[in-house]
Symmetry: C2
Subunit: 351 residues, 2 copies
Amino acid sequence: MEVGGGEARTEVENKQIIFKGFIETTPTETDMELKLGNKIKLKAPKGSGSLLVKNLYLSCDPYMRGRMRENYDSYIPPFTPGSVIQGFSVSRVVDSDNPDFKPGDLIAGLMGWEEYSLIQKTEKLRKIQPDDIPLSYYVGLLGMPGFTAYAGFFEVCTPKKGENVFVSAASGAVGQLVGQLAKLHGCYVVGSAGTNQKVDLLKNKLGFDEALNYKEEPDLDIALKRYFPEGIDIYFDNVGGAMLDAALVNMRIHGRIAVCGMVSQQGRYDPHGVHNLFNLVVKRIRMQGFLQSDYLHLFPRFLEEVISLYKQGKIVYIEDMNEGLESAPAAFVGLFSGKNIGKQVIRVARE
Amino acid sequence: MEVGGGEARTEVENKQIIFKGFIETTPTETDMELKLGNKIKLKAPKGSGSLLVKNLYLSCDPYMRGRMRENYDSYIPPFTPGSVIQGFSVSRVVDSDNPDFKPGDLIAGLMGWEEYSLIQKTEKLRKIQPDDIPLSYYVGLLGMPGFTAYAGFFEVCTPKKGENVFVSAASGAVGQLVGQLAKLHGCYVVGSAGTNQKVDLLKNKLGFDEALNYKEEPDLDIALKRYFPEGIDIYFDNVGGAMLDAALVNMRIHGRIAVCGMVSQQGRYDPHGVHNLFNLVVKRIRMQGFLQSDYLHLFPRFLEEVISLYKQGKIVYIEDMNEGLESAPAAFVGLFSGKNIGKQVIRVARE
């Protein structure tokens, strides 16, 4: 029986990005290496229940930094030194030994940073229904970052119409959707970012009411007072540290702070320390850490709602698309200095 | 018509403790002064609706430090320099121009730090039903601190039987009740305090499972791991700072941190900063500031339950009783170095 067309008959080269070894500080490109010469048969072995997939889009996400630590007291195990890096991906099934998938199916889930992956565990894969939505959105707007924004905003922030919402790292993979959902919910929304170009995108493309370049603000407290003279009801915190301190001072009574997963990667290395937590008491603030994975029962509703909003033109999504697997290490490292504009994706292969 | 017996006919001396002026740092005795020679008529003026009360027990509470700041962005206005200090008190009505109160009634509420007070605003006063409970408990176990413990533990911490509970400043006015309520709820309870005498009280009088002297622990993180090898579900935070950082590291997934009003007074002056907030995300922790005043609808239930527990001998309450109005400034200042053992009260007059 022939499966998956011509590709299945031969061994092909399978370029990979290898994780070199555990780190304690901010990732650099030399923590990863491109491995050439690896061969793979484009076949899912009989009796294995596995899939052989071609990876189309890989996602660069801040949480992956946590997997580069040896002692990562967290929700997902560390990477294995010497092995291929794992991340979210949109992929096409080339060969399947699993009755639930057939060649040509498009799927999203955790794959290797490589051109082809053999997937043994298929339970957490999601099938993508072909549609007129860019495929890469399934690791962004319609993937983990988008769902983080959705669950965090609606379930953790418990927003009310007319409330004042502040979003940090607002043009990033998560922040840009938080801001747009907040606007659609009838909130006043201000975002912060680290370049004037991003500030411009926030105001002119993503529909934020206001935006600020935190790098140009000598005093973040004063900056927030300028945009929130009556205070902040909801702070969607993607950065922690000094911005959190400034937001705490500007929160209103019974305000809510959603502490997004990104903080777990940045805060860990932040020597600043947070000094204004007494505001939690004075203003009776609820500050809540969350992971999207605790809300997966809402994923179908999220997908339906956000796809509908996107098709109605009520939501846009900015991607930073790098070409080729080789570009992945630099793109990933760039996340931590804010090089990316929008959601960072790697196009490994044309669809 | 004669009101209030012999006292009402004459002017008497009314010693007072005066607030001298705004401060920025930890209070010292010289921020207050004893004022002698003030006279007061023991009469509630006709048509005023007021009460003339004799103060029996005054409460020293950490939140009062906030009222000594000029720019106190908070829930209660600052003291007036040159005027008498205000605080919770148990008092006896000497004369009343208000149909809801009569001479001899016992009341609890905000009074002056003075021997007699003329009370214009009577709406927030609570009448005390004579009982076999020590009167002073109405500024402690059955007053604001006790209700802070009750509302914070049950409403903010949402405890479940069998959970692991950590309480800081555990022998204080609030902490000692938190620990006892947690034990009665079926939790494992550990408290921290700053002397071995307090540790002994926690274990042998207040029924905590374990207790530690944080001043004798070179590493708070390691100390907490010793008492919570499986982690902390609930941290009732009375201190903030370094202890909060250590607790954050030791929290379990979906843990809860109740940030008590005391932190708003200590944290404000704490140069330490909190560095481990990324644990909020990794463990999906809810950290919530609260004030008892947001839960006053529960006060009647609290009073009924805690009085019942006390009468059954299931709850004890430790007080640190100082004698005489003159002792109030030193007793208040002592709160911030942990001099008090249990709830700090001043006995102004015998009942």
